[in-house]
């Protein structure tokens, strides 16, 4: 979630869901929270019970809208215009929380003259390289004014080669957005964007707070506040309404509700999910929300913040300890062959920052190398930094599958993912799978990905496909132990209840034993290139054979001890033994990490989760009677902080902004920060502390600078960390029936395309595709369906693929409610039942009526209930920051009728009236699931 990283420093939800109950207003936008996160939705509901107001802004009236106090319908993909309208209203009416904004954000900071706004350049910022379709943010284009340099120096070549003062920090402790489709899709921008520009991230970030030219009166024409004002001057309610298809009054009303519920006494929160991220402008939508929250003073405070709702149980975890090609655990950059990454020191200087928390970069990298290579990693050999693979290209999912379709990939292993159904332009994903030599799918059921060779109604005959497919039966959640990291960074352990049936094994078992076999193959190799595999730490065997909760021995052989994995992730002090057990001493937190090889740590941000040999904090479940943050209920990274940047919940002097919104404050008597949460700040740094000139590391962060991951300690309203501009701009989606009324530039100029015969894009408004489509989720199914479409109890609740359309469109096209209709996009055609409903209505945009339809994306050709796949219609494009596709808006045409019979999906699983079958084989009666005892 670089949108958050670019604004605040860490790419993760700033708050926790329970805290939404304290919000006075909640803006839910780009999220269908009641349907996609029904359990978490209890907290907004509680906020409503407490007198708060819920606003839902969405193209579709969903179950979330039904629970909201106010609903605004907008055109899919016009979110930045709407948010820009809110920013415009806040600035126009002076609704900012001034004290907060002046003290904690870079609103006062003066930007160097090299910056040119979209207002000046008709829709693009300075620094755009048309040939490369990307921005060169450096060379002073998006830079802070340099306090020391002369004007020429800032503008000229002698200026920073890349980011400019205060430029790109480790802005995004990143995060990829949740999406079936997006595994592995993200760009280096996760970390703030610097690596994109192939140059040093820290070059010019030596301008800590106090040293950057600023204007607290906000009058300077180049101060961020004035630039922002100018940038959004044309986002008037009327202009916004023209773009979004809502009314001007609605824009004003939402802005007023947000503003009225912010300030010293009140706070508001923003909730988003993939409705924002799955756009080519998604990162900037989140940025726009960040700007609103900074202007209104809602970050780091109870009831405030931005909640990024992740769509998988551990999608946050899968970016923290990444399945991503370009990141090392803890958002450290994967070394690249194209950058100054030959030596450890070079890499650390290049990727680290002299000021702020990232000044500890080397400690984390060295500890990681010690965790991976153990004794083989020594100071003398640079901890074998040379063993880490170097990046030489983009291996994120979208380009990777495109390469696969071109026959350039030999084999693929898939765990818990279903790209043949859930990938954007799933047809292209299946074409890729057909070109593989081998494919391994580990899952509970034979998913679309596992059966693409025989069941794809749109694919060739099985004999024409050469791919050898291996299906590995995976263990279910209760059949293995391990941890989830949820949407609010909470690491939660789950125990194993029973053994998995038959040959099913946990993913951990599979990977561990695969690793063991690979290591055996390399055991006797003397070649240098095989050394990393030989020396890789790979010892997670149980000390004694594991037992089930009932005391009986587990039937499974070779299961690794997940506790040992989490211990390695937490890290060890390699010089000491644990006093109680005599085993290796564990680190108590990432502050203990050292760069001399005396500590190991598999993922620094998680350090502290396993502080003692017999204390797994992720497994703790102790509710607190007097603290609603429940600090002993599981463990939230970093350092068990529930609200990040919580220094901002107190005023610059360290006093709570108000009694009502008290959270963290400075205790003058004890000389430390105290309150309901772990301070996201140096615990004993006085509010009055001001850094000396040239201060380094955390010393460069002042006592009133809450955003410690930023080199200047401020929240970034103006942020060069996103690759497509320091301010969010309204661009039309890649596929839109409209031109951009604000600028000559229609769509995001930095969008990446992967065009080809399998991935046609409709660039210009077209009569062939006049309808806007938007994909969405239902409560009753889970993503691409492997966990729900094999369950009769869920299938009966939503048995068939449908499309939500307005009565007007239905009448126009002759489509009848409940009957079949065909939806066609440039990528293909699907069929669906027509759900004609007044919950959707045509919008008037730029004086023209436009229709929107909603498509749930849960069905496919595998499972008990089958149907056409919405993702056969979506396109493969990538936003510049995280390579995210644009599944949430594309163009289509609709007509009544069905697809030809040979194109329809056929059920592959017999329908069982009850999902639970007989007793699990090879499992003791007492360990059987409920209802399976006999």
């Amino acid at each position: 979630m670089p949108g958050l990283g670019a604004s605040f420093g860490r790419g993760a939800a700033t708050s926790f869901q329970q805290d939404l109950a304290n919000s006075d207003v909640i803006l839910i936008m780009g999220s269908n929270m009641a349907e996609a996160h029904p359990v978490g939705f209890r907290w907004p509901m509680r906020a409503r019970e407490n007198g708060g107001t819920i606003i839902h802004v969405d193209p579709r009236f969903s179950r979330t809208s039904a629970c909201a106090d106010h609903y605004v319908q907008i055109r899919a993909g016009s979110d930045i215009a709407f948010l820009g309208g809110i920013i415009h209203q806040i600035l126009e009416n002076d609704w900012c929380f001034k004290e907060y904004m002046l003290a904690y954000t870079n609103a006062v900071t003066i930007v160097a003259e090299g910056f040119a706004d979209t207002e000046d350049l008709n829709g693009i910022f300075s620094g755009y390289q048309e040939k490369k379709r990307e921005y060169e943010a450096g060379k002073g284009h998006w830079a802070y004014e340099d306090s020391t340099a002369s004007k020429e120096k800032v503008e000229g070549a002698s200026g920073p080669p890349d980011q400019g003062p205060g430029g790109v920090g480790k802005a995004g402790a990143g995060g990829r957005e949740e999406s079936e489709a997006s595994h592995g899709m993200h760009g280096p921008a996760l970390m703030g964007g610097a690596s994109h520009h192939h140059s040093k991230r820290s070059e010019t970030t030596d301008a800590p707070s106090g040293n950057i030219p600023s204007d607290p009166t906000l009058q300077h024409p180049r101060c961020v506040y004035q630039l922002l004002k100018k940038h959004y001057a044309r986002y008037t309610p009327k202009a916004v309404a023209e773009i979004c298809g809502c009314t001007p009054e609605q824009v004003v009303k939402v802005a007023r509700l947000l503003a009225e519920n912010s300030g010293r006494e009140r706070t508001g929160a923003v909730v988003y999910a993939v409705g924002w991220t799955q756009h080519t402008t998604g990162v900037q939508m989140i940025r726009a929300a960040g700007i609103i929250q900074m202007l209104l003073g809602n970050i780091g405070r109870p009831g405030g913040g931005i909640m990024a709702m992740r769509g998988h149980c551990s999608i946050q975890g899968s970016t923290d300890i990444p399945t991503l090609y370009d990141l090392l655990p803890g958002y450290l950059t994967q070394p690249s062959a194209e950058k100054t990454h030959e030596t450890l020191d070079g890499y650390c200087t290049y990727e680290g920052l002299p000021t702020g928390y990232w000044s500890n970069y080397k400690k984390f990298v060295v500890s990681l190398l010690k965790a991976w290579y153990g004794d083989a990693a020594t100071k003398k050999n640079d901890f074998h930094f040379d063993w880490l693979p170097r990046l030489d290209g983009d291996y994120s999912q979208l380009p990777f599958f495109k390469q696969m379709a071109e026959g350039k990939v030999e084999g693929y292993m898939i765990f818990g993912q279903n790209p043949a159904q859930g990938g954007p332009n799933a047809g292209l994903h299946r074409a890729g799978l057909r070109k593989l030599k081998w494919l391994v799918v580990a899952d509970w059921f034979e998913t679309e990905t596992a059966t693409f060779w025989k069941n794809d109604p749109k694919g060739p005959q099985p004999e024409e496909i050469d791919t050898e497919v291996f299906m590995i039966p995976a263990a279910g959640i209760a059949e293995k132990e391990g941890s989830f990291t949820n949407t609010q960074r909470l690491i939660q352990w789950h125990d194993k209840a029973i053994d998995p049936p038959g040959d099913c094994r946990s993913d951990l078992w599979f990977v561990y034993n695969l690793g063991k076999r690979l290591k055996r193959m390399y055991e006797h190799s003397t070649e240098e290139k095989d050394a990393p595999m030989k020396h890789l730490t790979w010892d997670y065997d149980y000390d004694e054979h594991p037992r089930l909760p009932d005391g009986s021995l587990s039937r499974i052989e070779g299961e690794p001890d997940a506790n040992k994995v989490l211990k390695e992730v937490n890290g060890y002090d390699l010089t000491k033994a644990d006093e109680k057990t005599g085993k290796q001493k564990l680190l108590s937190g990432f502050a203990d990490c050292k760069d001399d090889g005396t500590t190991s740590c598999g993922c620094w941000i998680y350090s502290g989760v396993f502080p003692e040999q017999d204390r797994n904090r992720a497994r703790e479940r102790e509710p607190s009677s007097d603290n609603y943050t429940h600090p002993n209920w599981a463990y939230a990274w970093p350092k068990n902080r529930r609200i990040m940047y919580n220094r901002a919940s107190a005023d610059p002097q360290g006093k709570p902004w108000s009694e009502r919104k008290k959270y963290l404050w400075w205790d003058e008597g004890k000389k430390k920060w105290t309150g309901l949460d772990v301070p996201d700040f140096e615990p004993e740094k006085e509010p009055t502390y001001r850094p000396k000139k040239g201060a380094e590391g955390m010393d460069a962060i002042g006592g009133a600078d809450p955003f410690i991951m930023k080199p200047d300690g401020k929240g970034w309203i103006f942020s060069p960390a996103a690759k497509d501009g320091p301010f969010p701009v309204h661009y039309e989606p890649v596929e839109s029936p409209f031109r951009n009324p604000l600028y000559k530039q229609v769509d995001n100029p930095a969008t990446r395309y992967f065009e080809g015969p399998l991935n046609e894009i409709c660039h210009a408004p077209s009569e062939e595709y006049p309808v806007i489509a938007c994909t969405f989720r239902l409560t009753e199914h889970y993503l691409s369906g492997p966990m729900s479409r094999f369950n009769s109890w869920l299938n009966e609740l939503q048995p068939e693929m449908f499309a939500e359309i307005s009565p007007q469109l239905a009448m126009e096209k002759g489509i009848e409610h409940g009957e079949w209709m065909v939806v066609k996009s440039p990528r293909g055609e699907i069929e669906a039942r027509a759900m004609v409903t007044r919950r959707l209505r045509p919008l008037v945009v730029q004086g023209r009526t436009v229709h929107q339809i909603g498509l749930p994306f849960h069905w496919g050709y595998a499972g008990e209930v089958v149907g056409s796949q919405a993702n056969d219609l979506t396109s493969l494009v990538a936003d510049p920051n995280v390579s995210m596709h644009e599944g949430k808006v594309f163009v289509c045409e609709v007509r009544p009728g069905r697809l030809p019979p040979n194109m329809r999906a056929r059920a592959t699983q017999p329908v069982a009236s009850r999902p639970s079958g007989g007793p699990a084989p090879d499992t003791a009666p007492q360990a059987q699931a409920e209802g399976r005892e006999q």
Binding site: P38, T247, T779, W793, N795, E796, R838, R839, R914, S916
Partner: protein, 309 residues
């Protein structure tokens, strides 16, 4: 004639009611109906009557209650039928569906009009329906075998080993709760998780409800809570909020599983005024007897006049 006989007035009133309620005429009862008061007297010391309060103003339509109920009670799925009736593909309560979430789209005009016009200006009503566990349950009264009883928690319970599958209870229920299982022929309905309660657990649906729309507890406490809750809702602008079944509805007794609604009961598939099909039964017997007597008399008169000829 100036003499007023209360019994006649009652008969007249009952007849009027019967005529209005004609479709609900129900089969004769063979055993004496258990008196609810007596049943409750059988509750253990200090055991209050347990029930549900289902609050439609908190329902988000997630159907977790439906699934949790089916899973706990191991009820079969009803098949995959797309109804097109909003998001409700279940349709109604039945022998295999003991919780049912109803959806009602009430959206007029432009959706945008909803903005600022109050919470229900345009709305998508959702409500989780369930057996009402009536204080004076007609199903129980209609049961010829005594299978239907008040269990030790004061809830209406079908004893499967005693049920003979006659189906009288099905037609007796004014809410359409009961159904007869195709598997074993017995009448089935919500047990208010008798088994879970016996182990001091909250019923599966209430446990799974993420927004506490389904509340479980002693009915008297729930009624007190509901009263306060409705007052709060009204204060907050939900002026139409009211309880359904907390008090007797017309002549119908109180419900131990009752509701907070904010629209007309019919919008949620609930009868505006449920009827006790056995009400007026005495009258019907008397009328029947009277008619028989009258006919006999008439016949006798006819025959006697003939014989005189």
């Amino acid at each position: 004639m100036t003499v007023k006989l209360p019994i006649f007035e009652k008969i007249v009133e009952d007849i009027r009611e019967e005529l209005e309620n004609f479709p609900n005429a129900f089969p004769p009862r063979r055993t004496a109906a258990p008196d609810p008061a007596k049943q409750r007297a059988g509750l253990q010391d200090g055991q209050p009557v347990m029930g549900f309060l289902t609050d439609a103003t908190l329902c988000i339509g997630c159907k977790a209650c439906e699934v949790a109920c089916k899973q706990w009670n191991q009820l079969p799925a009803d098949g995959n039928n797309f109804t097109g009736n909003s998001y409700d593909n279940t349709g109604h309560l039945s022998e295999t569906t003991w919780r049912h979430v109803a959806f009602k789209e009430k959206i007029g005009g432009a959706i945008g009009d909803m903005m600022g016009a109050g919470p229900t200006a345009g709305s998508w009503l959702m409500l989780s329906d369930v057996c009402k566990h009536c204080e004076d349950a007609p199903c129980l009264k209609s049961c010829p075998t005594g299978s239907l009883v008040y269990n030790p928690f004061g809830d209406v319970y079908v004893q499967p080993d005693i049920c003979n599958g006659c189906g009288y209870c099905i037609s007796a229920c004014p809410f359409g709760v009961l159904g007869r299982s195709e598997e074993d022929g017995h009448a089935k309905k919500c047990t208010l998780c008798f088994d879970r309660q016996a182990d001091a657990h909250v019923p599966a649906c209430a446990k799974s409800c993420p927004t506490e729309s389904i509340k479980f507890g002693p009915v008297e406490e729930l009624r007190a809570y509901a009263e306060k809750r409705v007052a709060i809702l009204r204060e907050r602008g939900h002026t139409k909020a009211y309880t359904y079944g907390a008090d007797s509805v017309g002549a119908y007794g109180r419900l131990n599983a009752f509701f907070i609604l904010e629209d007309h009961p019919n919008e949620y598939n609930l009868p505006e005024e449920p009827r006790q099909p056995n009400r007026g039964q005495t009258t019907r017997y008397m009328l029947g007897s009277l008619a028989a007597l009258a006919l006999t008399g008439l016949a006798a008169a006819l025959f006697s006049s003939k014989s005189r000829r």
